[in-house]
């Protein structure tokens, strides 16, 4: 599904990703953890096609496509989804209108007919219920005036609408209380399937109680420095990152 090999990326001349490799197979859930500033969001942005970053080495294959050759929109149309750590507010663009445009542009890319208004609204109703997102929010401007938790749920709602092959969730749990966290996890779990993979970026083990990962990786200084099973997350929770930093510098 996704094969990242020795990826290097700069921003404003500073190297942030320094030879990162990761292999994700269909249906798998990978958690990525790591101290602040280690490059987790950078990885997510680079995969989504943010042009502020310069790729200086390595490769990324997405299915049979060279991901780095695709525009941001084509990556999304090929089935890559990023739930942003900080979703942007877009005053004046209605959530619904925006999603409908997105759904139909993706369908057009795949050579499919646009979705009928009726089917679309039915899907909105069904998928917003997954994350218990108030129907009223769907009609508001994208993220405008949404609370932190609503923004995160809106990201998961969009994910559920667009049905990607690979979803990257960047700290979708940050700032959520336990009830909201359960709702978000429930939305993600409802979308799990043998063909759909997830990358869950988080600082906290508690999310991983609800979204159980197949693999846990530690990203530090722009590289995956340790990988393990879900137990690794428990160990990180108990011991912090110092022991890993020591291992790396040793």
């Amino acid at each position: 599904m996704l094969q990242i090999k020795d990826l290097h990326a700069n921003i404003d001349g500073t190297e942030i990703l320094k030879g990162l490799s990761l292999h994700i197979k269909p249906g798998e859930i990978h958690a990525i953890m790591g101290p602040n500033g280690s490059g987790k969001s950078t990885l997510a942005s680079v995969l989504a096609g943010n042009e502020d970053y310069e790729i200086t080495g390595g490769s990324v294959a997405f299915g049979d496509k060279d991901l780095l050759e695709l525009s941001t929109e084509d990556r999304a149309r090929e089935g890559l989804f990023l739930a942003f750590q900080y979703p942007v507010e877009i005053p004046g663009v209605s959530n619904i209108n925006f999603l409908r445009t997105a759904v139909n542009e993706i369908r057009e890319y795949k050579g499919e007919e646009p979705m009928s208004a009726g089917d679309f609204l039915k899907l909105v109703k069904e998928r917003s219920a997954l994350v218990e997102l108030d129907g009223k929010l769907a009609n508001r401007s994208v993220n405008e005036g949404f609370s932190g938790g609503e923004k995160k749920r809106n990201e998961v709602f969009q994910m559920a609408m667009l049905e990607p092959k690979l979803a990257i969730l960047d700290e979708t749990d940050s700032g959520l209380d336990i009830d909201a966290l359960k709702i978000v996890a429930q939305g993600v779990n409802a979308m799990r399937s043998p063909e759909r993979s997830f990358v869950v970026i988080t600082h906290y083990q508690r999310l991983l109680d609800y979204i159980v990962p197949d693999f846990v990786h530690v990203l530090y200084k722009g590289k995956i420095v340790k990988s393990g099973s879900k137990e690794l997350a428990l160990e990180l929770e108990a011991r912090g990152y110092d022991w890993i930093k020591e291992e790396v510098s040793a």
Binding site: V88, P91, G92, N97, F98, L99
Partner: protein, 422 residues
């Protein structure tokens, strides 16, 4: 020495410009007192330049450095694709075209031509021909226009569509309108200014009188192309009245709008909304003035622009709150997106508040496209062109939705999208 030379050059330009107009517009006579004071202004003052505060950012060379003829007004023209029903009146290069216009008289509505009779109309009683040079040019040379009177307690439920075409190369056209709403009446006017690929100068001054409890809405759309437009609206509101005006400037090479509102009665509402999108070498200048003379009134102003390439836009919004005008509620906002380093925006809110118990706020912002928002939309599978389209639409939405008619709204939205992608 230098000063004298500058003055001489100025004088020469002025006499060449006025001279060409005087010979072109010979025989313009009625309204003698008005013309006389206009000529006094023209001789007393120099052509507005960088030292004239109100014209500081607007170069007038494009208008005055060209001898102008008067047109016969016979050009074959295509009526605008937008029709909103109601009554339509058409002027071509300042000349009334009865063949393209509806009948003048309707029930509850008295429409006559400015050029035909100077009697019983308020023309020249509000305008600023005594101090503003270009208003004086208009007052000296105008030869036609419409006087629209709405009777007391009459609600005209079909809009009036005034179309002013500017078509013939190197011509000038000067028109004056008077719109007068009697007590408790209402009217919606769509003023549509259309230019061509030829260089023209057209100046239209409209004076509007909104009596007690009356309501006037003006939708103003400017599509000048190569034309230079000088458009002035003067409005006086009596108590309990409402005046709303929306100005949308589509592709136009040179535009100067002066919108002035005197709020002379209590409990009035005035709203001024505008959008402009100059590109290439275009220049759009919106000067507005709201004069709160009495207490308990509300004004709401919102102008938004997208300025790109080598274009320049000017926004100057004056709000006066006179000492008596307690409990005034005045809101002003000017928001701009400047897309290129070569594009320029001058934004100047001017609030002069002499009363103490008032609520006034103003804000002026000039920024770029929100690239983060573009990325967000693209990351959801929306193509870049469509993403920018959605954002332009979103930015201008609260202006466009103030146009009274849905057909007008979609007409403008479509034109704006075409402009943004040309």
């Amino acid at each position: 020495m230098i000063t004298t030379e500058t003055v001489n050059v100025q004088d020469e330009k002025k006499s060449a410009f006025l001279g060409s107009l005087s010979s072109a517009f010979q025989g313009v006579e009625s309204y003698t007192a008005l013309r006389k004071s206009a000529w006094d202004t023209l001789s007393k003052f120099a052509i507005p330049g960088t030292k004239t505060e109100a014209w500081k950012y607007t170069r007038v060379g494009k208008v005055i450095n060209q001898a102008r003829k008067k047109s016969g007004g016979n050009t074959q023209i295509n009526l605008p694709e937008i029709a909103i029903g109601g009554l339509r009146y058409v002027f071509v290069d300042g000349v009334f075209r009865a063949d393209l216009s509806d009948e003048l008289t309707w029930q509850g509505l008295n429409i006559r031509r400015t050029g035909e009779s100077a009697e019983n109309n308020l023309l020249g009683t509000l305008s600023n021909h005594n101090a503003d040079w270009f208003e004086a040019v208009n007052a000296a040379f105008f030869n036609d226009g419409l006087v629209i009177d709405v009777d007391k307690h009459t609600h005209i439920d079909c809009p009036i569509h005034l179309v002013f075409f500017a078509s013939e190369e190197n011509t000038a056209a000067f028109s004056r309108n008077v719109i007068s709403l009697q007590e408790s009446s209402s009217l919606q006017v769509f003023t549509h200014y259309i230019g061509s690929q030829h260089s023209t100068f057209s100046s239209v001054v409209t004076e509007a009188f909104v009596a007690k409890n009356a309501s006037l809405k003006i939708d103003k759309i400017q599509e000048g192309n190569e034309a230079a437009f000088h458009h002035v609206e003067w409005t006086k509101q009596e108590r309990d009245s409402r005046f709303d005006i929306t100005t949308v400037t589509l592709k136009s090479s040179w535009v100067r709008n002066d919108l002035n509102i005197r709020v002379a009665g209590e409990n009035c509402h005035s709203s001024l909304t505008g959008a402009y999108l100059p590109s290439g070498k275009e220049h759009v200048d919106n000067h507005t003035m709201v004069d709160h003379m009495v207490p308990n009134c509300e004004s709401d102003e919102k102008y938004k622009g997208i300025v790109r390439e080598n274009a320049t836009a000017v926004f100057n919004g004056k709000v006066f709150v006179r000492p008596d005008a307690q409990k005034t509620n005045a809101f002003q906002q000017n928001a701009n997106i400047v897309l290129d380093d070569t594009a320029t925006m001058f934004s100047k809110p001017e609030l002069e508040i002499y009363a103490d118990d008032v609520k006034c706020s103003h804000g002026s912002t000039t920024g770029q496209f929100d690239e983060e928002a573009v990325f967000y939309l693209r990351a959801r599978g929306i193509g870049e062109v469509m993403a920018r389209k959605l954002l332009v639409e979103a930015f201008l939405a609260d202006v466009i939705t103030t146009l009274s008619d849905e057909r007008l709204q979609s007409y403008c939205t479509e034109k704006i999208q075409q402009l943004m992608h040309s």
